[in-house]
Subunit: 432 residues, 2 copies
């Protein structure tokens, strides 16, 4: 795969000025080398991942807080902290974000949490997962770089998010999936009218194909949200940190429980919290970040428990398919954050995932996808192990919607009884 | 079925003072007789339907507008105009509402609308349909009347909304459905932990059974949201009118296109608009209300076209199952409103419903349930017929989520191509 990169001084490759607001450059997370803003994702010196560097509006925190609070009820209220132009809110977008932070008192009683338990419920996004956040940012980068086609490799959720965002924003979309996905995911991903291409192979094959396509003339003008636009895309997860703190009255919670797929979301939430502190929008205080995995795909949890700095890849086998990345790119960074903040990484088995989906539904009326079952289940396990302090404020993420993973709970839900349409039959059922 | 009713002066049946905020009584829509607030739904004199009467905060419109704007981002910002106690926002609820009003410029171009086209997208509610609004109000009535079990008859969507709301609000739930619903709907309705009872029979049988249960000691303490709590429940739809006007900068749109099932939603939106005018929150101006049905269940549309005042029942046969009420209770009121405001009632066939779901998805990235296909399709048809003026501001309702009616679009969506994981194979597919 050809790694494309441009050094800051080489201004020839991108003749148009790129306006991505406070974003000033891309910077290598490993060696720190800086590159001009562009559709690149790996350092040309050390092959490390690139992330967005900013010129953040340090200074008058009160004025910034007021500006944010007066902004729209979506992620664009945080435009001054994101790689997007200042007028982003006026462009066609699905406008995700500002989802509910639900005070989960019923669940807190079940888990014995006394310090305040909250569920950040991202099933309220336009296509019902947190992916709408990251895709919305990638769309703005795609606009800035002059791309006309939006693309991605996906196992389903991201495909729908990209298809929907592209339709609204006026891009063509062409999305790649393993050819044998469940029909429901295929329907949702294709209803937005873009091209949906099935690849004969597994998700790794799809990924490899996309990397090939980026280096080929066939892929010219294509923005792959999770490949050549990945540095921008990832920044969308920072908005989860911003919203949680603003919704808590501009306070950082003591503890956060975050699902781990690639690990990107967890690292960006940590980045977002640090930015809020640096900007003076919240008071500096310690916080603990906990990572949550499914036992059937728990490379980061395994490394955490073994005290390793590196993550040994696993072959995923879990119902939590949206978290089933066996070789998570940001695994080492996650380990570092969990250890530095005094958190932990834990996993639960599929049975516990299902139990936890039902526990959240039965206590708070929130029907989470399997990833939400993972975070709730891990929260319970961490409390029982004494690793998560129930007397402290805790925020648990639900990143998706149970309607998309019905098959996970189908075997253990259903009708309590089937009766004839009369009172005697109902009486016999013993449910009155 | 026993009709329970209590006259205003007979204060013995309900010894506890009922605090439902500005709601003062129930009033018969046919003969005007008034009854004390209670779990009743039909007039004891003429058997007409009861609706909530209010003591609305007439007077300082600016102060009321400010109070609303400072309220929570959900339907409780309108608490002064709803049958709920003033402290409703502090009670456990799914807190539905304040969903997006999407400026649909792409769809407007497709339909030739130049006066501003908006989609009120209620798929953003907690269980992804407008039912969360009506159920949330019914829950407050159930609290006020001391009920401990929440119930309803349902073909799926309402069952989920009641199950979720009951779980969060601390009620037991026991919901009745036809026993042979699709598995997906059964899973969603049962995941919240309440009882879900399948009835051997069709939806009419389920309804009849619920009416029997209300009159029996077995049903004591049970609030049926769409039967004995129906007058309160229905008021939830007023919030759609409030939100649309507030989101348009406190202006009434010129034209609204609303789906018709029982017809209740349409009549309550009209009621809400009239209240906003009476309160001085919006300027008084003419507006036209259009009703939308599926051809396979179009009793109101048929009556409108034939110039009738009454609605002849039909046997439903359409993919728009959430609208498939063959004998709509509020049909005559809908006819009256459409004629009085200069609107119309129209219907589209199932093929047009599917085309319209896809048109909305492809232009705005909104994946609507079949009812949304009905309103978009009817809008197109009304413009072509010269009945809806494309130069005026128009709001089209999408009341639910495409994820719940995947089967409607499944036959005509899918993968554009299936390829081997290499560039040659992609090139041959002709999609680059």
């Amino acid at each position: 795969m050809a790694v494309q990169s441009v050094e800051v001084d080489a201004s020839t490759t991108n003749p148009l000025p790129v306006d991505l607001g406070p974003a000033t450059a891309l910077s290598c997370r490993e060696c720190g080398e800086r590159f001009e803003l562009g559709p690149i994702f790996a350092c040309s010196s050390c092959f490390g991942p690139l992330e967005v560097a900013y010129d953040l509006p340090l200074g008058d925190a009160d004025a910034l807080r007021k500006q944010i609070e007066a902004g729209p009820d979506n992620i664009w209220r945080y435009a001054p902290l994101l790689p997007v132009p200042a007028d982003v809110a006026s462009k066609p977008s699905l406008n995700p974000g500002f989802t509910k932070l639900v005070k989960a008192d019923n669940l807190a009683r079940e888990l014995g949490v006394t310090g305040g338990l909250y569920v950040k419920d991202d099933s309220g996004n336009p296509t019902h997962s947190f992916k709408d956040r990251v895709v919305a940012i990638a769309v703005e980068a795609a606009r800035a770089f002059g791309f006309t086609t939006l693309s991605c490799s996906s196992t389903g959720n991201l495909a729908g998010a990209v298809g929907a965002a592209a339709a609204r924003a006026g891009f063509r979309s062409c999305v790649f999936i393993p050819h044998d996905l469940e029909q429901g995911k295929v329907v949702m991903a294709s209803v937005y009218g873009g091209d949906l291409v099935g690849i004969e192979g597994n998700y790794d094959d799809v990924n490899r194909f996309c990397s090939e396509l980026i280096g080929d003339p066939l892929g010219e003008g294509w923005g792959f949200v999770n490949v050549n636009l990945r540095p921008y895309y990832g920044e969308g997860s920072k908005t989860l940190a911003y919203e949680i703190c603003e919704q808590l009255g501009w306070e950082i919670p003591d503890q956060l429980v975050i699902p781990i797929a690639s690990g990107s979301q967890l690292t960006k939430i940590d980045k977002g919290l640090k930015e809020l502190i640096a900007l003076g929008l919240v008071e500096d205080k310690p916080y603990k970040i906990f990572g949550a995995q499914a036992e059937g795909c728990s490379p980061v949890s395994a490394a955490f428990k073994a005290g390793h700095d590196v993550v040994r890849p696993q072959k995923p086998n879990t119902i939590a398919k949206s978290l089933a990345i066996g070789n998570p790119a940001d695994g080492p960074y996650v380990l570092d954050i969990a250890r530095r903040t005094g958190g932990a990484v834990e996993d639960v088995n599929d049975e516990q995932v299902v139990e936890s989906i039902k526990l959240l539904a039965e206590t708070e009326g929130i029907f989470a996808e399997t990833a939400g079952g993972v975070t709730v289940g891990v929260t319970k396990k961490l409390i029982e192990a004494g690793l998560l302090d129930p007397s402290l404020t805790t925020v648990v993420l639900n990143t998706g919607d149970g309607l998309k993973t019905l098959e996970a709970v189908a075997p253990t839900t259903g009708q309590s009884a089937v009766i004839r349409p009369n009172l005697d039959s109902f009486r016999e059922a013993g449910l009155a």
